[in-house]
Amino acid sequence: MMQDLVVHAAYVGYALTVLLLFGTILTWVERKQAAVMADRIGANRAYIRLPYTEIRLIWIGLFHGLADGLKMMLKEDFKPASYDRFAYAAAPWVVFVPVLLVFGVVPFGGAFRPGELFDFWPAVAQWFGDREYQLQIARLDAGLLVVFAFGGITVIGAMLAGWSSANKFSMLGALRAGSQMISYELVMGLTVLGLILIYGSVDLVEIVRQQSGLLLGFLPAWGIFLQPFAAVLFITAAMAENRRAPFDLPEAESELIAGYFTEYSAMKMGLFMFAEFIEIAVIAALFTTLFLGGSNLPYMHDGGFSLPGGVEIALSHGTVVLIQLVVFLAKVLLISSFQILVRWTLPRFRYDQLLRFAWKFLFPICLANLVVTAVALWLLGGMK
């Protein structure tokens, strides 16, 4: 029992570290990637001077995120003359916390046997015995449903913020956020339904395990090869959920000042921004889990690699766990970078175009995809 507690406390610590780190690093990635895409250099002037020396650490602009954070914390926390102080104060947290919670059910690695990992330290190895854990904070049977349940809470935060700010721009932003997020939530749910049909489970560990094999002998059995349309639709809907360009209607700067968080300042506003950046990473983690095989590498299994030429490479358990952690993070970073690429490429929709895109374009395609998947499964009969 104690062992479970230790392992899961370590998991929570790891997940929080990774998410907060991603939230900070992605602000830098966003700045630099946008700059490189536009033939610019990007933010590179913030520095830390080592005390008593003239040595200035610039580190290709990494400290700009630190400067931003400091600015957010030290600014005046302005409060509007609102009638609902509680909702006003709670809204940033209602947006921020579910984003972190979603990561609780995402498996960020494969199986993990602490007894085998600590075999150089007999006392610890013996204490853990031959227990095996999944690298996942909470293994829930309803994994995927929990993702949608928590993901849906975010819209309440946006609505609360807009309503309690007593500002017309905030209100308009909140209305837009509400209708947009509910529309795209539907699309997102329907895209995943095809995957659930194929895998026959909503348990994310089970979904990842089923993606570890090979298709037709050479393709990794990743969701993106089984359901290519669903992958595109899912990432589209997820970016719309995150309210970033080209779907940033709720906070359209040129129309609504800052949308539903117009009246927020200092760290409350920082929380909204931070939640947005962490959600990029969470979306990437979900996409990785559902469509890119989670922590799976092609031709890799729990004992090492078995390459197509009949070559076998055996690896120790510790190495495999490390490789799986790194592979997962690398995939997450890649998909985050793709989202930033989209954000700096496409212009914003008009509002009627946005909803038309969801209901008249994505929704029918989702349904068609679902029907085709179901029929194919029925014809193949018993493949699952």
Partner: protein, 203 residues
């Protein structure tokens, strides 16, 4: 009861109506095309950065000379040197006399051990808060001792006393940065031939 007549709205057509082909109406295909353009630019610039080149058109402003200065731009003054490093200036005061803004201050000194150039400046100072960058000092100089490079002086300051440039600073001249007038003087043909290679901005 009065019936209100609702005017039927007819959408006007304009001469510059956007026309979209079927290819563009599908939208997702155009999205893919746009992403490949921006992604291509990203990868190209990233490749340049990773192979040690600069993948941006931006100049690091105060540290790096801008690439778009005109060839004859009159910017910072430099004092030229003899091969032994002493200033070529003979402290004749012609530049200070011709200067319309009266910004040049020269204090002469005397060295009897150097019969060829007995007189030299002990102090040579230019006040950039008043300089009008007319270039008359360069034209007046009989010894080709003062020149102007393309780069502008980097003297943003909070008071005018920080905007003086002394002899040490004016002598600290990098010939590679002024390709129009190389020192020591070389024939014009060679200068033109090497201009292309030496004009690249300082890394």
């Amino acid at each position: 009861m009065k019936r209100s007549t609702v005017e039927r709205r007819v959408r006007r057509s304009y001469w510059n109506e956007p026309t979209m082909a079927a290819w563009e109406r599908v939208y997702l295909l155009e999205v893919v095309r746009g992403l490949s353009i921006t992604g291509g630019v990203f990868l190209r610039n990233m490749w340049k950065w990773c192979t040690g080149r600069k993948g941006a058109v931006t100049a690091y402003y105060p540290e790096e000379m801008r690439a778009d200065y005109a060839q004859g731009n009159r910017g910072r003054h430099v004092l030229t040197q003899r091969p032994d490093g002493s200033p070529q200036c003979v402290a004749c005061n012609m530049c200070a006399t011709v200067c319309p803004a009266k910004v040049i201050e020269i204090e002469a000194t005397y060295d009897p051990r150097d019969p060829a150039h007995p007189k030299s400046p002990a102090r040579f100072e230019i006040d950039y808060s008043r300089c009008v960058f007319c270039g008359l000092c360069v034209e007046a100089c009989p010894e080709d001792a003062i020149r102007m490079v393309k780069d502008v002086p980097g003297f943003p300051g909070r008071d005018r006393w920080t905007m003086w440039s002394g002899k040490e600073q004016l002598l600290n001249w990098q010939p590679a940065r002024d390709v129009a007038k190389p020192y020591p003087p070389v024939p014009a043909i060679t200068s033109a031939a090497t201009a292309g290679s030496t004009e690249v901005t300082r890394p």
